[in-house]
């Protein structure tokens, strides 16, 4: 079996700091957000054509953007939800970016992370979750102004830890949904939004930089949490033991912070991790022969599988902050790194895995 190869297709050097990039599903376009040196926000849309990227939209907004997502954009629309350094959540229609379609002051401090479900991915109401430095995680519905539909926060604001990552999952029908949030001290909390309760929490010892479920529109199957100090954890979310929680495996990679992990939309067992030393690693998860086992009390507990490195490349000397797979074309991906470079990558031979 030949290993997949990672090919750098296009490399574009920009004049602002890139923080996040996301594909617009159903098209060959993607959005890039970042921060100009003068503290204003940059929002650009690019399109791939004939071996190069052409710019389709270039706007500058009041405050630097930290994160973005197309997840709550209903089919047929292109609504980009962004979080900025002031704690504002905006939803922009990229066809008419002058005025935001939805805007709210989500948090008092910077919105570190954003995730959305219900529009292009997952079933049910479109919802956007934001996590902030003030330690709270809030869920917003673009149809409800001003107030979040759910809020997970600690009453004791002084000792609240910064929330660094959020991810939606388990959104396989219109009622079920769960949200997982990771904090800078390694806390990982899983909320069930249907029961509106905390379902599980654990501590991973290192701050959690990235979280992702392998697929958002199926019952929760796997969760990858990437942390500081070059580690990531893969949890098997199918079986929860009352004491042991979820089974997990830990792997070292990159020798520095693992910034994020992104699953291939066409194959939920393949994912890419982005490292603080500018590298990308492509991993494949294999399931164990029996995913569930019984312990001495007769309760079920999960069994974690193994993860194998398929390929690794070094793109730059600066951290790769964000990576996104195209949901329509197998193997096409974009990544943004802190050396102000946007790269379009092609990963070959993924259909043979």
């Amino acid at each position: 079996m030949e290993k997949p190869q990672i090919i750098a297709h296009v490399q574009k050097s920009l004049n602002y700091t890139l923080y996040d990039c996301k594909w617009l599903p159903g098209t060959a376009r993607f959005a890039v957000v970042g921060s100009h040196p003068r503290g204003t926000g940059a929002l650009q849309m690019y399109e791939i054509a004939q071996g190069d990227v052409t710019i389709k939209l270039d706007t500058e907004k009041a405050k630097s953007f930290k994160c973005c997502t197309f997840g709550a954009s209903l089919p047929g629309r292109s609504h980009l939800a962004t979080g900025d350094f002031n704690g504002q959540l905006h939803v922009w229609d990229v066809d008419k970016p002058e005025v935001p379609a939805y805007s709210v002051k989500a948090h008092q401090e910077i919105v570190n992370t954003i995730d959305a479900v219900g529009g292009t991915v997952g079933e049910g109401a479109p919802e956007i979750a934001t996590g902030s430095r003030d330690g709270s995680v809030r869920v917003w519905d673009p149809r409800q102004p001003n107030d979040p539909v759910a809020c997970m926060e600690s009453d004791d604001k002084a000792t609240a830890r910064d929330c660094w990552a959020v991810a939606f999952g388990d959104a396989f029908n219109s009622t079920e949904r769960c949200l997982v949030s990771g904090y800078d001290n390694g806390d990982l909390k899983l909320f069930d939004l249907r029961a509106m309760a905390l379902r599980w929490e654990t501590n991973l010892k290192n701050g959690i930089c990235g979280l992702e479920f392998d697929r958002r529109d199926i019952p929760a199957n796997k969760l990858v949490a990437s942390t500081l100090e070059g580690k990531f954890h893969v949890f098997d979310m199918r079986t929860q033991h009352p004491n042991k929680g979820f089974a997990s495996l830990t792997e070292r990679a990159h020798k520095s912070t693992v910034w994020c992990a992104r699953h291939l939309p066409q194959n939920r067992d393949v994912f890419m991790t982005c490292g603080g030393s500018g590298g990308l690693c492509l991993w494949q998860y294999s399931y164990p022969t029996a995913r569930v086992a019984k312990d001495s009390d007769g309760l079920d507990y999960g069994v974690a599988g193994t993860v194998a490195l398929l390929q690794n490349v070094t793109l730059s000397t600066q951290p790769v902050a964000s990576f996104d797979w195209s949901p329509d074309k197998l193997g096409l991906g974009i990544c943004a790194s802190f050396d102000q470079c946007l790269r379009v990558l092609i990963v070959t031979k993924l259909n043979r895995l």
Binding site: S154, D192, W200, N243
Partner: protein
């Protein structure tokens, strides 16, 4: 790393099998502290790759490939593929932009409502009582506020006593709900950090299968939308299959075919059913695939395997022969065929006598063997239909194969083992005993026969017309048959193997 200097040696590395030590040696060599020895490094790397290919130490940093670094033809194909895709997608986007306005508002109405309860989940464990009280009030205040506002926006304070009583009931209900929620929260906070919430403990057990309908709602969607949804569900099914959740995979495939009945999805679902040991369903799905694609090799193999498991050997053989005609190099196909042949041969040895007996049981009255065969076979068909109708659809399906195999066999008189098989494998021992009694029902027999005689009527007769036609043939009886039947009545129903070895009268 505490490695003595003489370990950095070719011979030592070749002889060393300790992975940890080899890794350390490699690290030392790479660091260049003791000097640069490139050949030693490669030697150590090869040794390590032999012993532990997944070792972290072997991970190398390399730059990504570029178009220049790739093979020309390969890059050309990749580039062409990408360009074709972008061109297609860009034209789609252009046309989609034009015609999207109307569908937008319709889609909005179909969405589920905004989450009603403006809920807050409190995370900090300290000061539980105070927080619970405050959280109750906040949640109750917010929920009642939101529910009241949802029902009627900005109502003035209730004026009449009726309105007050209604509001009271509402508030009471709210309080009960909030008490339940806070009780849950209290138990969460008091319990361990990793304990689950009571509300959710019920769900993990039932989380094995998603609470999803078996069909997708595809009423107003265009064919492209349906195809896309079907493809999505099929992909989900494939993934569930790969991780061993066959029931879930079958569910996703069913959803996929409800949107767009493609043979590929049916084929995959057949495989899932095969793994779940639902052999009849597998056979049905393979049948659907083969109707659309008669040359589908996978479907033939799967159906043959399913047939073998439900003991429809003849059909299995037919499918395998078809398969081997299409794909002579199929290893699985030929292996299965040889298995089937071995089974048949095993039965064939003991079946020569048994076969004749079986035909007699059904009640062919002619002395002539050949007529016996024909009549017996024909009588077999409908009568066995009648009896098998009592059994599940699986057996019922096999009756039709008895029919078909009979017709097949009539053309090929030369394969006796095959003839025998459908009967013995389809019809359980009890039924065969009953069949024998049926055949002898016209004899002046004692009560047992009369009791048994009732049975055929109880069962739904599959083919009444043919049955009536065939019955008159059961005229002559062999004296020895009577003898054997009597003896059989006294004995309890035996297994097949035993009957096969019984002496022929």
């Amino acid at each position: 790393y505490n490695i003595p200097l003489d370990h950095l040696d070719f011979r030592y590395i070749s002889g060393c099998s300790d992975v940890k030590e080899l890794e350390n040696i490699y690290k030392v060599l790479l660091s260049g502290e003791e000097g640069r020895y490139p050949e030693l490094e490669t030697h150590c790397e090869e040794r390590l790759r032999l012993l532990a290919p997944n070792s972290r130490v072997l991970r190398k940093e390399q730059p990504p490939l570029s178009a220049a670094g790739l093979d020309q033809a390969e890059w050309a194909s990749i580039a062409a593929d990408l360009n074709a895709w972008t061109a297609a997608v860009n034209t789609n986007t252009g046309s989609a932009d034009a015609g999207q306005e109307k569908s937008k508002t319709d889609a909005d109405d179909l969405l589920p409502p905004v989450r009603a309860a403006n809920a807050t989940i409190n995370l900090s464990p300290s000061q539980q009582q105070q927080q619970m009280a405050s959280s109750t009030t906040t949640t109750s205040g917010r929920t009642s506020g939101s529910s009241v506002s949802a029902s009627s926006a900005k109502r003035p304070m209730p004026r009449s006593y009726d309105e007050w009583s209604k509001l009271e009931k509402q508030l009471e209900a709210q309080e009960e709900r909030d008490a339940a929620i806070s009780a849950d929260e209290a138990s969460i906070k008091q319990a361990n950090a990793s304990k689950t919430s009571p509300a959710a403990t019920a769900s993990p057990a039932s989380r094995k299968m998603p609470n999803l309908p078996n069909r997708l709602r595809v009423d107003g969607l265009s064919s492209e939308e349906r195809a896309r949804l079907a493809e999505q569900e099929k992909a989900k099914g494939n993934e569930a299959f790969r991780s061993g959740d066959y029931e879930e995979a079958a569910l996703y495939y069913s959803r996929s075919v409800s949107a767009s009945p493609l043979p590929a999805a049916y084929n995959n679902r057949a495989f899932a059913y095969l793994k779940l040991q639902k052999y009849t369903a597998c056979v049905k799905d393979c049948g659907r695939v083969l109707k659309a694609e008669p040359d589908n090799v996978k479907a033939l193999l799967r159906r043959a395997t399913a047939y073998q498991k439900i003991h429809r050997i003849v059909d299995a053989r037919a499918d395998l022969e078809r398969l081997l005609r299409l794909d002579p190099g199929s290893a699985a196909g030929s292996a299965l065929l040889s298995e089937l042949d071995a089974e048949l041969a095993k039965r064939g040895k003991t079946s020569a006598s048994a076969k004749r007996m079986v035909i007699e049981e059904v009640g062919s009255s002619e002395e002539d063997d050949e007529d016996d065969n024909n009549a017996g076979l024909e009588a077999n068909g409908p009568v066995s239909n009648a009896l098998n109708g009592r059994h599940q659809a699986a057996a019922g399906g096999s009756c039709s194969t008895v029919q078909s195999s009979n017709s097949q066999v009539e053309t090929e008189q030369a394969s006796p083992p095959v003839m025998k098989d459908p009967l013995s494998t389809c019809i359980p021992p009890a039924t065969v005993a009953l069949l024998s009694n049926l055949s002898s029902k016209r004899k002046p027999q004692k009560q047992p026969t009369r009791l048994i005689k009732k049975n055929p009527r109880r069962s739904p007769v599959k083919n009444p017309a043919t049955r009536k036609r065939q019955l008159p043939r059961m005229k002559r009886r062999r004296p020895s048959l009577r003898q054997t039947n009597l003896t059989r009545l006294k004995r309890p129903a035996t297994s097949y193997s035993k009957r096969a070895t019984m002496p022929v009268p």
